[in-house]
Symmetry: C2
Subunit: 503 residues, 2 copies
């Protein structure tokens, strides 16, 4: 081997070892939330912290800089969109970003996260914002400092934080797309509210057996293409998806006999995340060519299968015989479809319908920017929250528990994370529109239960590229245009026109 | 802190980190055998190998020797049976032993184990010893070399290997105890065979639902004292017990509707292992004061609960209402007891009754010593195996699959492991005899379903000492005499006298 080939092999080997440790830590966490005996949590936390610490130490090892110095002049690494070029360029970016945070700050954040989540949990149960406020203040000040260190020249501290979840995203671009989306959603909502046709959702007010839900959820995940030889579906209280290796993706859902859509769409959502992980290149597992692009792109895959596919009439034309048989029902595809697309502005983000969901995110996106910049103090936060909810969504939180205390994110230091949810919805709709065009009409295929062409298209246009393109580049390359709110608005308008008989 | 106090804290911290990594590797392996998707095995092997390699590197880090040099003159470490003294002395022993094996030998053995198990599996399925012989030859030569390196002056290579599983054990002592046991067992067997009373086992020739077995196994494990808040019971094809942390012990069993005793006694066996792990001191997890003594002592805990407790008449007097109700039976305690104690010499060790089980072990103990010393060649092994089975157990293997190929151990390099099974049986009986005396008759307590006094006695006399005493010391201290075959022989004789109406 030539010298740079040898050096690249060392770099690759080192990053692969980081992935071995990080994926073992993921198993420890998956097991904690599914299998672990109740009294084992203290030692488990130590195991996770130790392995995460080891992975962090390896990712900031100065040996990496020496290898990268040598590789950055190498011809084979010149194209940043090639496997080698992307690995070198992104390893450099990750290394520099990780090195910007001093160890004491990383440790302070980790400790504040544990304390913060504890405080938040108590405060929410007591419906007492004041109990959470000191921990929130501490977290904001730590995150502000981290954001300042992570920000590139010309970026705000908030952008520095956002970049951890959505690399390369700019607040101005997001704000502009979100503003257009918001106006259209508010308009759509008002049309739905005054429409003469409303959804009869008595079908959902019944009890659905957990066994039936488990069976149907598994069948749906299998049908859309989640590979059970390379993954599992389990139960937990807070559903998620985790990758424990190139052929080991675990998705989780929950079953509530009083709320059928929770498990069905939760499973399709996690299966979408899972199929993305299963579509990444195994030979580059944990390295840039085999890693997801951003949380926005990850969320686009879950939302595409949950909403664009799973909430379509075509989908329920195919699955109505199955759902009716599973639960001894006799509803029509149109009835299921209407129930699963009922719009009802409400206080809680995680229970929101598709028309209002993004409004919840937009409120948080605005507030968290103001918190990090210091324009908004935590004293004024509850008032600001309630004011925004009333004006944007048209509902007024009667209590902190149903308002500003509803999400765990800020207590866990996740500032800059919320906008990736709406980005996911926007990208999902834009990708779906392109796939629909490229594949000659998806409705007919979905109605036949044929999901392979769509999954194949996503594999080829999204999954297989790993992190070699940014989210913006991927959207531009694949759909031929920059990110826009129009595909999502058009898609929602089409769907709700059908359900609510809109013009 | 004084200098040695500080050094000891560093040593303890280092060993604790080894335990964090090793226990994460254990979770990877538990998950592999219970939860992991089928296609994930290749990457999983990489994860396990990497973490095991890291733990090995930390255990042979020369920093340890520097700390130990300093600590060996420290007054607080002078007593080898104190927490500090045992930690220092055994850390030194472990370090020196691990350093004796060169890296290339450890790697050759690891590779030969993977190849060997593959060969063995194929050969057993094809009933073709010749297919396995080359791999066995390779493994014997590697193990002989390892044994020579591990042996202390005056020890044979086989003793060097044995010491890995049963520290401090001497072949001569084992051979002498085993010889006495063998004569008595052969005599007992012949009495049973000619007895006029034989066991009517039609009760076991029925089907028992897997659901019922799962329920009853869980209830038995809970009743004897396995703590489900600090452990789990799951299913797998090859039952085992593993410790993933001081409060996370996982036991596994299997359910076969055609063989009820498999799950019931398998669960009691693994629960015995599990209760030992749960009785170790959490604050010293993974360090000598919080680690099991030897495989023989570990096996004594499983065998005690499986056989001494679980196969007693008192136990079935207590559980007969429960087993009858679970499976809609009407049998008497005496009928269950007789069925669970039926003796039938057979070819396969893992299916053997208690009277013949140790004879299977004694055959392997003799043969594996001869293989390692070179007195017996693998050419002659099948003949020697069959000859021993015919003369010692009175059955003649019709094929290699039912004979010399039945166990995975040698293919996995486990020479010196088999005798710990019989040691476990011997120690179990000797401990039980002492507990019975100390607690004033266990039968009455067991008949009441009161297992707490016995478990408390084991906690105090065995579990809490960790590795601070050798197996021999522990047996001597706890029972007041050296290891002997008499308690096991007496116990079996009592039980079989009842079942087979012997003199």
């Amino acid at each position: 081997m030539t010298a740079p080939t040898q050096t690249f092999a060392s770099l690759r080997d080192h990053l692969h070892q980081c992935a071995l440790i990080a994926s073992a830590a993921e198993l420890l966490q998956w097991d904690e939330r599914t299998m672990m005996p109740t009294q084992a949590s203290e030692f488990r936390a130590e195991q996770v912290a130790y392995l995460s610490g080891r992975a962090h130490a390896m990712r900031t090892d100065s040996q990496l800089a020496r290898w990268l110095d040598e590789l950055e002049g190498w011809e084979a690494a010149a194209d940043p969109h090639s496997d080698i070029g992307a690995t070198v360029a992104l390893a450099r970016k990750d290394y520099e970003k990780q090195r910007r945070l001093p160890g004491e700050l990383v440790e302070s954040i980790a400790a504040a996260t544990v304390r913060g989540q504890g405080c938040w949990d108590t405060a929410r149960r007591n419906d007492d914002y004041a109990q959470f406020q000191p921990a929130l203040d501490e977290m904001i000040s730590l995150q502000r400092r981290a954001g300042e260190l992570l920000a590139d020249p010309g970026q705000s501290a908030y952008e520095g934080l956002l970049d951890q979840y959505e690399p390369g995203a700019r607040v101005q671009d997001l704000a502009s797309v979100f503003a257009g989306l918001r106006d259209e959603l508010v308009q759509l909502l008002s049309e739905i509210t005054v429409s003469a046709r409303q959804v009869d959702d008595r079908l959902l007010k019944q009890k659905y057996s957990v066994d039936g839900q488990r069976q149907l959820s598994t069948e749906l995940a299998k049908a859309v293409g989640f590979d059970f030889q390379r993954g599992r579906l389990d139960e937990t209280s807070h559903p998620f998806c985790t990758s424990l290796g190139p052929s080991d993706c675990r998705i989780l859902t929950r079953y509530d006999e009083d709320w059928l859509p929770g498990s069905l769409f939760g499973t399709l959502h996690e299966a979408g995340h899972g199929m993305y992980e299963q579509g990444l290149r195994p030979d580059w597992y944990g390295l840039p060519p085999g890693t997801f692009v951003s949380l926005g792109i990850h969320e686009s895959q879950s939302r595409l299968w949950e909403n664009l596919v799973g909430r379509s009439l075509a989908f329920w034309k195919h699955f109505t015989p199955q759902i009716n048989e599973t639960f001894s029902q006799t509803a029509t595809p149109e009835q299921w479809h209407a129930c699963f697309n009922r719009v009802q502005p409400s206080l809680i983000r995680v229970e929101a319908d598709e028309a209002t969901y993004n409004l919840h995110i937009i409120v948080r996106f605005e507030l968290e920017q103001a918190l990090i910049s210091g324009e908004l103090s935590t004293n004024d936060l509850p008032f600001a929250w309630n004011e925004r909810y009333t004006s944007v969504i048209g509902v007024s939180p009667p209590s902190a528990a149903n308002g500003v205390l509803q999400d765990v994110h800020w207590s866990a230091g996740l500032f800059g994370y919320f906008p990736t949810y709406t980005l996911g919805n926007l990208i999902a709709a834009q990708l779906y529109e392109s796939a629909d065009e490229a594949l000659g009409g998806l409705d007919a295929q979905i109605e036949q239960g044929d999901f392979a062409p769509l999954l194949g298209w996503l594999r080829e246009n999204v999954h297989t590229h790993g992190r070699k393109f940014t989210a913006d580049e991927l959207v531009q390359n694949t759909t031929g245009k920059p990110l826009s709110a129009q595909p999502l608005i058009a898609s929602l308008r089409r769907r709700y026109a059908m359900v609510y008989d809109l013009a």
